[in-house]
C-alpha cells in the first residue's frame, strides 16, 4: 500500500503501459473500430456507403448522407490510414515494448540461473511427486538413478552430497520461457516492417500496352494521362528511356522540380524500362473460364534487356525491389488498325510459313494462286443459335476471330470466320491450314506495381512469430529434483518435478523412470 503512494506519475504511466489491462482495452478498441471499418466500404464512392447505411439501419437517404458525413469527418471511411488508428497501433506497440521490458529481466534471470538443490520442505509442494525405496545405500543406488533419468528423460543430473545421502537435480527447456517474448517481439518487427513499407515504398499500377515500354508507374487513383503537362512529361520520359536528368534537361526543368511535378501527377519513376511483349489468357477447354493470365515481360536497363519473365497471377516479377503483379487486362481503345494477326500457314504439300498480317491486308497463300484478305474482326465472337449470324459478346479478347475472304484471279472463291481458340475453323476448303497463332498490339496488361522494402522485415517477423509460438505452446521448462536418503541399508528416493506446460506428458516420463528403477530393485534382489 505504502509503495503505491510513493509512486510518481512516471511510474504510474509505466505501470499502465506494463499492464495487460491496457492490452485488453487496446484489443477492444481495435476490434470495435474495425467492425465499423468492415461495415463501411473503405475509400469508396460515398454513394456506395450511403446505400449500405440505408440498407443496414433503414435510414432515409438524407439521414444516411448526414450520418456518412459525420463518419467521414471521423475518418471512418478511410480509417486504417487515419491518424487515430495509427495512434492506437502505436499505443499497442508501446504497451508490448514496456510490458516486455518490465518483465524481461526477471525472466532472463530465471532462465539463466542455475538450478539449486532444495530443502526437505520444498519437496512437499510439487505437482509431480513420486517415492520409491531401493535396496542398497545411496552411494550404490545413485548410479542407477542417474542412468534411469538419462534413459527415460534425457536429463543429466547434477549431484550434491547431503547429510543423509545425495540430491540429484536438473532442468531442461529453460530457454523456452523466452518464446513468449519472441512472439511479442515479432509483432513489433511486423509493425516496423509495415511502417518501412509506408515510408519507403509505393503502391501503384500500370496498364502496359503490348510492345510499348514504360519507365514509370502510376499512383492509385491517378489516371494515366491527367493533363497536358503530365502528358508532356510522360512523352519526354518515354524518349529518354527513364533517365530523369536527361528528361529534366529536355523539359527545361531541374531534376528536383521534375520529381516533385511527377509526384503531384502520381507518376512514379521505376529507374528502368518495362515492356510487355505479349499478353494472353488461357481458358479451360471450350469454356470462357480463364485458366491463366500471362504477360511476357522484359526489363530494359541502360538500353540492354536484362530480364525476361512470364508472369501470372501468383507469380510476379521483381526487379530492383519493384514487383509487378498480374492484375487485370483490357483492349487498347482504337488499336485494332495497328494490331498484328499472326498466322502459321501449312500448305497441302507440307511447307509452313509464318505471316504477320494487319486488318485489310491482302496476302498470297504460299503454294497456291489464292490470295486472302482480312475483312472483319471480333474480339469475342458468338453465333446466334437460330440464325447463325455472328455477333460480338464481350469487350475483351475472349474468343477472337477474323473474317477472311479468299480470292483467285480477283474473284471471291470462299470466305469465313477463323477463330483463334477453335482449330476446326483453321482449315480452308482447298486444304491449307491457317493456324491463328496470335494477336499482337491490341491489348494492355494491367499490372500492380509495388515497391516495399519492409516486406522482408514483415516476413522475418512472421518467421519469428511462428518460432516463438511453437516454443511458447509446444515446449516446456521442466525441472526435476531427486533426493536419495539413506535408511538402514535401503535408499528412499523422493522425486519432485515441475513443468510449466504439459505437465501430464512430463509426469508420464517420470513414471517410466520410476518404473525403470523399480525393475532395478527386483533385479538387485
Amino acid at each position: 500500500m505504502e509503495k503505491e503512494k510513493d509512486k510518481n506519475i512516471t511510474d504510474k504511466i509505466w505501470d499502465l503501459f506494463a499492464s495487460v489491462k491496457l492490452a485488453v482495452v487496446i484489443f477492444a478498441l481495435i476490434s470495435a473500430t474495425s467492425v465499423v471499418g468492415t461495415l463501411l466500404e473503405q475509400q469508396a464512392e460515398p454513394e456506395k456507403n450511403v446505400k449500405v447505411l440505408v440498407k443496414m439501419f433503414g435510414f432515409d437517404h438524407e439521414t444516411a448522407h448526414r450520418v456518412l458525413g459525420v463518419l467521414d469527418s471521423m475518418h471512418f471511411t478511410n480509417m486504417y490510414h487515419s491518424w487515430w488508428f495509427v495512434a492506437i497501433l502505436l499505443l499497442f506497440a508501446a504497451n508490448l515494448i514496456i510490458c516486455s521490458i518490465d518483465r524481461l529481466p526477471r525472466i532472463v534471470k530465471l532462465v539463466k540461473e542455475p538450478l539449486k538443490p532444495l530443502s526437505e520442505d520444498h519437496f512437499k509442494g510439487f505437482g509431480i511427486k513420486k517415492e520409491v525405496v531401493l535396496k542398497g545405500n545411496p552411494d550404490k543406488t545413485k548410479g542407477a538413478v542417474s542412468d534411469a533419468a538419462s534413459k527415460a528423460l534425457g536429463f543429466h543430473l547434477t549431484e550434491v552430497k547431503e547429510a543423509h545421502g545425495y540430491q540429484l537435480y536438473s532442468q531442461k527447456g529453460n530457454y523456452t520461457r523466452l518464446g513468449v517474448y519472441i512472439t511479442h517481439f515479432s509483432i513489433l518487427v511486423i509493425l516496423a516492417g509495415a511502417v518501412i513499407g509506408i515510408f519507403f515504398g509505393f503502391k501503384g499500377f500500370l496498364n502496359l500496352p503490348e510492345g510499348r515500354p514504360y519507365s514509370v508507374a502510376f499512383a492509385r487513383g491517378s489516371h494515366m494521362t491527367d493533363s497536358a503537362e503530365s502528358e508532356r512529361i510522360l512523352g519526354v520520359l518515354d524518349t529518354s528511356a527513364g533517365n530523369l536528368s536527361y528528361a529534366a534537361k529536355q523539359l527545361g526543368l531541374d531534376e528536383g522540380t521534375l520529381r516533385s511535378k511527377m509526384r503531384t501527377y502520381g507518376i512514379q519513376p521505376l529507374g528502368f524500362l518495362i515492356r510487355c511483349d505479349e499478353f494472353n489468357v488461357d481458358f479451360y477447354g471450350g469454356t470462357d473460364m480463364p485458366k491463366a493470365y500471362k504477360s511476357w515481360l522484359t526489363v530494359i536497363k541502360d538500353g540492354k534487356e536484362v530480364l525476361k519473365k512470364v508472369i501470372e497471377v501468383n507469380n510476379p516479377l521483381t526487379y530492383e525491389g519493384i514487383t509487378f503483379y498480374q492484375s487485370s487486362y483490357g483492349l487498347i481503345p482504337g488499336a485494332g488498325g495497328n494490331a498484328i494477326f499472326r498466322f502459321k500457314v501449312s500448305s497441302k504439300d507440307g511447307r509452313a510459313e509464318v505471316l504477320d498480317l494487319k486488318f485489310g491486308n491482302t496476302f498470297a497463300i504460299p503454294g497456291t494462286n489464292l490470295t486472302g484478305k482480312i475483312e472483319d474482326f471480333s474480339p469475342a465472337i458468338g453465333f446466334d443459335e437460330r440464325t447463325g449470324r455472328a455477333f460480338t459478346y464481350a469487350e475483351q479478347l475472349t474468343n477472337p476471330a477474323v473474317y477472311m475472304n479468299f480470292f483467285e484471279g480477283g474473284n471471291r472463291k470462299f470466305g469465313g470466320w477463323i477463330l483463334k481458340r477453335y482449330p476446326e475453323t483453321w482449315k480452308i476448303p482447298d486444304g491449307t491450314v491457317l493456324e491463328f497463332a496470335g494477336i499482337w498490339g491490341m491489348q494492355h496488361t494491367g499490372l500492380q506495381v509495388r515497391k516495399d522494402p519492409g516486406v522482408w522485415v514483415v516476413y522475418l517477423g512472421c518467421i519469428a512469430m511462428a518460432f516463438g509460438l511453437f516454443t511458447a505452446f509446444f515446449m516446456s521448462h521442466r525441472k526435476i529434483w531427486i533426493k536419495l536418503v539413506e535408511e538402514k541399508n535401503v535408499t528412499r528416493v523422493v522425486v519432485g518435478a515441475s513443468a510449466n506446460k504439459n505437465r501430464h506428458a512430463f509426469e508420464k516420463k517420470i513414471d517410466r523412470m520410476v518404473g525403470l528403477l523399480s525393475k532395478d530393485r527386483e533385479g538387485g534382489r
Partner: protein
C-alpha cells in the same frame, strides 16, 4: 457412385449420430453410446472417401496437378473439410478421455454446418480454379485455418458444456449468457430453416439466390404480422430456454464428467488452435495475398474479422496465464471466440463482401 452420394451418406450419418448421442445422454445405456460412435465412424469413413473422390474429380475437371486439385477451395468444400476435422478431433478426444457425452455437443455442430450448406443454397459444383486461387499458399492457408477452426469449435462445445454444468442460478450472468446465446443461435437456425422451406415452395426462378431471401420468411418478413409473430416467438423461445435450461444441466450432471476435464480440453484445444491459426490463417494468408496482389494485409473484412477473432483468443490465453481466468469466465471467452470465428467465416461471406469472398 460419386462423391456427392458419399457426402450424402456422411451427412445422414452425422445427423443420425447426433440423435443417438442425445438419446445416449438421456438414457446413458452403453450400447446406445457404442452405436452412436459406430455411426459417427461410418460417417467419417464415407466422408473421407468422398473427399478423396472429389479430389480426383476436381483434378479431372481442372486439368492440373494433384496438389492444385485439393478440394478445399470454396465455401462448400471448406465447410466439408471443417466438419471432417471436427469429427476427427472429436473421435480422438472420445478415445482419449473414454467419454462419449461430448458427442451430443459436437455432432450438432457438424450436422448444422452440413445443414447450413443446403440452407444457404451453396454452390456444390466442381469448378476449375480461377487464377487467383492457383497457389500452394492458399492450400496450406485453408487447410490450417480449418484445422484451427475445428479446435476452436471443440473449445466452444466444451466451454458451453462447462457453463451448463457449472451455472446455478437463473440470475447468474454466465447462466443468462449461455441460455440467451444458445437461444439466439437456435432461433437464427430455425429462421433460416423456414427461409429454406418457403424458398423451395415459393421461388421457382433459378436466378433468385437464397442469400437475398435471408430471414424474409420470418423475422424480416414483408408482412408486419408475420414479422411481429416471429419476433414474439423468438423471444418466447429464448425465454423458455432460460427458464428451463437447468434441465439440461441435470442431464449432463448425471454423467461421470468432471468439469475440470472440460476446462482442460477447452484450454488445450485453444492452445493448439491458436498457433495453427496464427501461422496458417494469418501468416500464410498474408503470404498468399502478397503473392497474388502485392498486398500482405489490406484490411478487407475477412482479414479484419480474422484479426478480431485472433485477439479474442489472445485475450483468452493472456487472461488465463496472467489473471488465472479459469472455469466460467474462460468458458465464456471460448464461446464468444467461436461466435466471432463463425462470423468471420460465414457472416463476412454472406453479409459483407470483400477480396476473399469466394463463395459468391
Amino acid at each position: 457412385m460419386d462423391s456427392s452420394t458419399l457426402f450424402g451418406v456422411s451427412t445422414m450419418a452425422y445427423i443420425v449420430a447426433m440423435i443417438i448421442y442425445i438419446t445416449y445422454l438421456a438414457f446413458g445405456k452403453s450400447q446406445i453410446g457404442i452405436t452412436a460412435t459406430t455411426v459417427t465412424i461410418i460417417g467419417f469413413i464415407s466422408q473421407t472417401f468422398a473427399i478423396g473422390m472429389r479430389w480426383v474429380e476436381f483434378k479431372n475437371v481442372g486439368q492440373m496437378g494433384w496438389l492444385r486439385a485439393a478440394p478445399f477451395t470454396n465455401l462448400y468444400e471448406s465447410l466439408i473439410f471443417f466438419v471432417w476435422c471436427l469429427i476427427l478431433g472429436y473421435l480422438i478426444i472420445e478415445f482419449k478421455y473414454k467419454n462419449r457425452s461430448f458427442g451430443a455437443f459436437v455432432t450438432p455442430i457438424a450436422g448444422l454446418a452440413l445443414a447450413f450448406i443446403d440452407l444457404t443454397g451453396m454452390d456444390k459444383g466442381i469448378h476449375p480454379l480461377v487464377p487467383a486461387l492457383q497457389s500452394n499458399w492458399l492450400l496450406v492457408h485453408v487447410v490450417m485455418s480449418f484445422i484451427a477452426y475445428s479446435t476452436f469449435a471443440l473449445a466452444f462445445s466444451t466451454g458451453l458444456m462447462y457453463l451448463i454444468m457449472k451455472t446455478e442460478k437463473r440470475s447468474e450472468p454466465s447462466y443468462i449468457f449461455w441460455t440467451v446465446s444458445t437461444g439466439i443461435f437456435l432461433v437464427v437456425l430455425l429462421a433460416m430453416g423456414l427461409d429454406y422451406l418457403s424458398f423451395k415452395v415459393m421461388i421457382k426462378n433459378p436466378d433468385v439466390l437464397i442469400k437475398s431471401f435471408l430471414f424474409r420468411a420470418s423475422l424480416l418478413s414483408n408482412s408486419p404480422l408475420v414479422s411481429l409473430l416471429s419476433w414474439i416467438a423468438a423471444v418466447v423461445f429464448i425465454f423458455m430456454l432460460w427458464r428451463y435450461g437447468h434441465l439440461l444441466k441435470k442431464v449432463i450432471g448425471s454423467f461421470s464428467l468432471s468439469a475440470d476435464i472440460l476446462d482442460d480440453i477447452t484450454y488445450k484445444s485453444i492452445a493448439i488452435g491458436f498457433p495453427v491459426f496464427t501461422l496458417g490463417g494469418l501468416i500464410f494468408g498474408a503470404i498468399w495475398a502478397d503473392q497474388a496482389w502485392g498486398v500482405y494485409w489490406s484490411w478487407d473484412p475477412k482479414e479484419t474479422w480474422s484479426l478480431i477473432s485472433w485477439f479474442a483468443y489472445a485475450f483468452f490465453l493472456h487472461a488465463r496465464l496472467l489473471r488465472g481466468w479459469r472455469g466460467k469466465k474462460a468458458a465464456v471467452v471460448a464461446v464468444v471466440g467461436f461466435v466471432l470465428v463463425i462470423f468471420t467465416y460465414l457472416g463476412v461471406n454472406l453479409l459483407l463482401s470483400g477480396l476473399h469472398a469466394y463463395g459468391s
